[in-house]
């Protein structure tokens, strides 16, 4: 239990630090809503660290670490959004981030369950659906459909950032599992 708590805390801290790093990067293309999505890295890593699971979606995680899987990933996902929202931005941002994160989590979970995607594919699904979720929320908040004009940019940006993040997760995973196996 203590070990589980510690490891979950570690992932939450990782997500928050990534959110902080991202808040430091001035990242603007004249199109609002395009972000790197770094904190999602922690969520993806957790999603693929299935508890004792033998079947990772990308053929990874032959031996599962103590934590991970859909439940833990979802928990950390929601917590990091609420905490980083209060730390680095405002309530409005939390609303948007939650809309994006819930949709993106559902898409990543479905993508993982389908088993035909690697981590990169799952991450792309997450990136694109995150942006679509935020766009839909923007339509609801501003009560206009005109923000739909951002859709092409946001889909393309979500694909690129998702792929980059997925490759990053692929690189990180072996190291992470090695540390965990030892502990």
């Amino acid at each position: 239990m203590t070990k589980r708590l510690t490891q979950l805390g570690f992932f939450l801290a990782l997500a928050l630090i990534l959110a902080y790093v991202e808040s430091l990067i001035p990242f603007s293309f004249g199109i609002p809503g395009i972000r790197l999505g770094l904190p999602n890295l922690a969520v993806i890593l957790l999603l693929y660290g299935s508890r004792g699971g033998t079947q990772g979606g990308g053929g990874s995680a032959a031996r599962g670490p103590g934590i991970g899987g859909a439940r833990d990933a979802f928990l950390i996902n929601i917590l990091r959004i609420v905490i980083s929202g209060f730390l680095f931005s405002n309530l409005y941002t939390i609303l948007y981030a939650l809309a994006g994160a819930v949709l993106s989590f559902a898409a990543m979970l479905a993508g993982r369950r389908l088993r035909c995607f690697s981590v990169v594919g799952v991450s792309v699904l997450g990136g694109v659906s995150h942006n679509i979720g935020q766009l839909v929320m923007a339509m609801l908040v501003t009560r206009t459909v005109y923000v739909g004009y951002y859709a092409p940019y946001l889909i393309a940006a979500g694909t690129v950032t998702g792929a980059v993040l997925g490759l990053g997760a692929v690189e990180l995973m072996p190291y992470l599992w090695r540390i965990k196996d030892r502990s």
Partner: protein, 164 residues
């Protein structure tokens, strides 16, 4: 991709992009490109600038000359509690506004609209590129403000209307 055979046994398969990944990435770019082409195809120069607060139109400004409402110039949108006001200036107004809780300064000129200055936290609206085509918009989320370009009065817009 990097060859990491020296890593432990978990790693060897994860470095391979699966076929489904490539299909997915290609499909996403294709979808974005098709949507983009669709929007470009539908692009029409706008004829008016609408200032909306909380989804309600505050003011409509003619984007081209020869229309009745005042056209080019600065439009200062100020907020105090739930009271929103828009004021027209021919020259850049002073932005020392202690009596208001917030403001956005809109500039309409040469058939384009852009936010010149705002005291919102994220400044996304200020960094937004100038807009001129029917249906384009600048959104300031912290202030719940939308600046949007209206198209033909004949109602031939592709994405028409305001959802409720």
């Amino acid at each position: 991709m990097t060859n990491r055979t020296h890593m432990d046994d978990h790693s060897h398969k994860t470095f391979v992009l699966k076929k489904a990944d490539i299909v997915l990435i290609a499909a996403c770019f294709l979808a974005a490109a098709l949507l983009g082409v669709f929007f470009i195809f539908c692009r029409r120069e706008g004829v008016s600038v609408r200032i909306l607060y909380d989804g309600i139109a505050l003011r409509t400004i003619a984007l081209q000359s020869g229309q009745e409402d005042t056209a080019d110039g600065y439009y200062l949108i100020t907020y105090r509690d739930d009271v929103v006001a828009t004021d027209y200036y021919t020259d850049m107004p002073s932005l020392d506004l202690p009596e208001y809780t917030g403001y956005n300064l809109l500039l309409v000129s040469d058939g384009q609209a852009r936010i010149v200055s705002a005291d919102c936290r994220d400044q996304i609206c200020v960094r937004h590129k100038p807009i001129s085509a029917a249906g384009e918009s600048i959104v300031c989320l912290p202030h719940e403000l939308v600046i949007e370009i209206g198209g033909d009065p004949d109602g031939k817009e592709t994405l028409d209307g305001v959802t409720r």
